[in-house]
């Protein structure tokens, strides 16, 4: 046995990054918190009356008020449920059709041109039609969100399947993997990083379309809160709803990343561990 003296290229970044790891999330708060504090000071010092752009303290008071009346919870739950349902439908259909079109050249030639044409329609343009077809209640809203989620997921999955390295697939062939085993042991893990990205893009669009859906006629939801604030001249309520969107959107993205991170620890990419 002679092959032993080779130096390993392993590096140990965990020790070095210990302190930086804990501070990293804090770094992202510097800009928004700094701006909020500056505006608060400006209003308190009388540079502005803060009527149209309410200071953080007034927004916070609005939050507390909405919370105490139970309004905040009611609207948030309604919106989250819509996004969850639309995201669910969009992800399932987008994943299945994306995988089908990536795997089968026939399916791709048959379906992809139509999907690409539909994709170029601004999804908000569907709203009048969905309301006519599906009514003004939940079905049309969830459908709109699902349409928004579908396209990035579909494109991401199809592109990822198409770009799986032929050389890796050949390894599966050498070990005589069956079709399902090839999908489970080679194709799925290979597309996972791109898939997670497309899910995040889809989720982001889901949050965009829920607002569009709720602005066009809803009796509850954070989008309704926005419209209500505009019609009753309550800018603090509008900003509160916007902040709620930002917080919930970021949180759901963060949850998605957290769930998928353990499956992507193997990645050898520029951004890994940064």
């Amino acid at each position: 046995m002679t092959a032993s003296a080779e130096p390993s290229v392993t590096t140990e970044p965990t020790q070095r990054a210990g302190a930086g790891l804990r501070l990293r999330p804090v770094l992202g708060l510097v800009l928004p918190v700094g701006l909020a504090v500056a505006w608060e000071i400006a209003v308190r010092a009388g540079f502005s009356d803060g009527r149209l752009v309410p200071p953080p303290s007034r927004i916070f008071a609005t939050f507390v008020e909405l919370w105490q009346t139970g309004e905040l919870q009611r609207h948030t739950i309604a919106t989250v449920l819509r996004v969850a349902a639309g995201f669910g439908f969009g992800v399932v259909t987008g994943t299945l059709t994306g995988a089908l079109c990536g795997y089968s050249a026939l399916a791709r030639r048959l379906l992809d041109p139509t999907f690409q044409a539909l994709r170029s329609i601004p999804s908000i343009a569907w709203i009048p039609l969905f309301i006519l077809w599906l009514g003004i209640f939940e079905t049309s809203k969830v459908t709109l969100i699902a349409v928004g989620v579908f396209f990035p997921v579909y494109l991401g999955v199809m592109g990822a399947v198409l770009s799986v390295d032929r050389k890796i697939v050949e390894v599966g062939r050498v070990f005589r993997l069956s079709g399902p085993a090839m999908v489970r042991r080679i194709l799925l893990p290979a597309v996972l990083p791109a898939y997670v990205l497309s899910l995040r893009a889809g989720l982001g669009l889901g949050w965009m379309f829920v607002v569009a859906a709720e602005l066009l006629g809803a009796s509850e939801g954070l989008g309704f809160l926005l419209l209500d604030g505009q019609q009753l001249g309550k800018p603090a309520q509008i900003v509160a709803a916007i902040v709620a969107f930002a917080v919930i959107g970021k949180t759901t993205d963060w949850i998605l990343v957290g769930i998928t991170a353990p499956f992507l620890r193997w990645e050898d990419a520029y951004g890994a561990g940064r």
Binding site: A3, E6, E170, V171, R173, V174, R176, W266
Partner: protein
């Protein structure tokens, strides 16, 4: 017995990569295939592995025709082709998924020990050096104990020191179970260190041009006169295989380029 009978491969674009290659390889024999680029040596290996189908002719192992990948034929590619989402141990055990877990673990551990990478079992492939990664690829191919192991320029991407090291290492591993080895290489030294027989191929279309028996005792001394003698014969055959000759005025032929310029 691995038998290649009249093997030919013409690609859809009309390129005749391989033309009527016949070869019999005895169990436990090591055959090296050398030749200039485009002489069909990689095509030959892909046909033997069952990854591609021949246009004409056949490959058979112990009488069984090979039309698709076969469990008794393993292959190591030029690149390690490790699966980045599996640990080193997971990669080595990739072909054992249908075996009981205890057997899988035992055989993976044993094979990792044979390639001196036991301590790397839990790490991701990205943390390996080139030589280590190729050793994992060899371990992955050998862990199922195939009768035949095909190697497609397995060490060509490595530096000279690592290459020599891995050649010796491969012979150690071969001594364990004595599988049939078919090694494609463009490194003449590598061919002579490893092989009992060296097939020199010529391109357009790819055919076997010469067969040289390397009847040297093992372990082989890369500096010995006998080694040098075989090397000169292989290099001469390679030169002739390229057919780059000039006809001189008195009608005799003369090699145009010196030995070693064949690639």
């Amino acid at each position: 017995m691995l038998v290649l009978d009249n093997l030919s491969k013409t690609y859809p674009n009309g390129v005749r990569a391989l033309e009527s290659v016949s070869l019999k390889v005895a169990p436990g024999e090591i055959v090296a295939i050398v030749g200039g680029s485009g002489c069909g040596k990689s095509t030959l290996l892909r046909l033997v592995s069952g990854l591609d189908r021949p246009t004409r002719g056949s490959v058979s192992l112990d009488g069984t025709p090979i039309l698709s990948p076969h469990e008794q034929i393993g292959i190591v590619f030029q690149e390690p082709r490790l699966l980045p989402w599996l640990t080193v141990a997971g990669n080595v055990g990739f072909g054992l998924a249908h075996r009981p877990r205890a057997e899988q673990e035992a055989r993976v551990a044993q094979q990792l020990e044979r390639v001196a990478l036991t301590d790397k079992a839990p790490v991701w492939p990205r943390e390996l050096s080139g030589g280590q990664a190729q050793r994992v690829a060899i371990a992955r191919a050998l862990v199922t104990r195939p009768e035949v192991l095909l190697l497609d320029e397995p060490f060509s991407a490595l530096d000279a020191f690592t290459r020599v090291d891995l050649q010796d290492h491969l012979l150690d591993l071969w001594a364990d179970t004595r599988p049939t080895l078919v090694v494609v290489t463009h490194d003449v030294d590598e061919a002579i260190v490893l092989a009992d027989r060296i097939m020199v191929m010529r391109p357009r279309p790819g055919t076997v041009f010469a067969e040289i028996v390397a009847d040297l005792p093992r372990p082989r001394d890369r500096q010995s006169a006998a080694f040098d003698h075989v090397k000169r014969r292989v290099l001469a055959a390679l030169d002739r295989s390229l057919d780059r000759k000039v006809v001189t005025n008195d009608g005799t032929t003369q090699a145009e380029a010196g030995a070693g310029a064949w690639w």
